[in-house]
């Protein structure tokens, strides 16, 4: 089963994302911030990462930089899902190694389409 790491400090957002993904057959690992994400993945296989930007302890951009330093995450698709919509932030995301940038709120159908598009076949 395709496994997706969903990182967001908002419980309601995690619930919406998880419901959308699980109802389409994905396995979801939930984390409340970047540090929690790193703690939870351990040796687990992750096919895609979906992360918020503004979170306590570790933000999304830092999480992406940390993951890109790990061999097995060098090519893993990482999507930002955030309220941040400025060009400066998007550029920072691109520089950090993000695969794409989605501005909240998300449309469930559109989210699933984007995930299908970036997941390796």
């Amino acid at each position: 089963m395709t496994s997706i790491l969903a990182v967001d400090d908002s419980a309601s957002m995690r619930q919406m994302v998880s419901f959308t993904l699980r109802s389409s057959g994905y396995d979801v690992i939930e984390a409340i911030d970047g540090q929690d994400a790193l703690d939870k993945i351990g040796d687990r296989h992750v096919d895609l990462v979906l992360t918020d930007q503004n979170m306590p302890r570790m933000d999304g951009l830092t999480l992406i930089r940390e993951l890109r330093c790990v061999d097995r995450f060098k090519r893993t698709p990482i999507l930002m899902l955030t309220t941040e919509s400025s060009d400066e932030m998007k550029q920072a995301g691109r520089a950090a190694g993000a695969t794409g940038w989605m501005v909240k709120p998300f449309d469930p159908q559109r989210l699933l389409e984007i995930i299908s598009k970036v997941l390796p076949n």
């Binding site: 967001d8 908002s10 309601s12 957002m13 619930q15 919406m16 419901f19 959308t20 109802s23 930007q53 503004n54 955030t82 309220t83 941040e84 919509s85 400025s86 998007k90 995301g93 691109r94 993000a98 695969t99 794409g100 940038w101 989605m102 501005v103 909240k104 709120p105 998300f106 449309d107 469930p108 159908q109 559109r110 984007i114 598009k117 970036v118």
Partner: protein, 140 residues
């Protein structure tokens, strides 16, 4: 202007006024905290009812009515994300208030406008959305 003010070039802010303004700002902060709790409570209840509706919909046999319901639920899911944006706006406004409160205190003590920096006004608000409509998507 008094002799001391003329010598230092500083303007004294009346302490009573500063205290009153700080009280007002703190009250506004407390009200924002209450708004946050109301939002959290509301979205917790909405999410629970929504989850129940989702389960019921999933148990329905395939039909046109079920498809219509699914479309409506997806739209509701987009709208239900308001709490995340509202919470971030509240946190940002709270920080602005704290920064202004601290600044007023410094101004009252030193009377020095240069030492009064409202740090959080410099950081742009992370939420630019004006409506709860699906945001943009950009693949790099």
């Amino acid at each position: 202007m008094g002799l001391d003010q003329a010598a230092t070039g500083l303007t004294t802010v009346p302490t009573r006024l500063v205290v009153d303004l700080q009280d007002e700002l703190m009250t506004a902060g407390t009200e924002l905290d209450r708004l946050q709790r109301l939002l959290t409570d509301a979205v917790t209840q909405l999410s629970a009812h929504f989850s129940h509706a989702v389960s019921s919909q999933a148990d329905m046999p395939p039909s046109q009515e079920r498809d219509v319901l699914l479309v409506q639920m997806r739209r509701a899911m987009t709208a239900l994300q308001f709490e995340d944006m509202a919470s971030q706006l509240i946190v940002h406004s709270r920080r602005r208030l704290s920064s202004v409160t601290e600044c007023l205190g410094n101004l009252a003590v030193s009377g020095d406008e240069e030492g009064c920096e409202v740090q959080w006004v410099v950081r742009p608000c992370p939420v630019a959305q004006r409506v709860v409509d699906a945001g943009s998507v950009e693949l790099f």
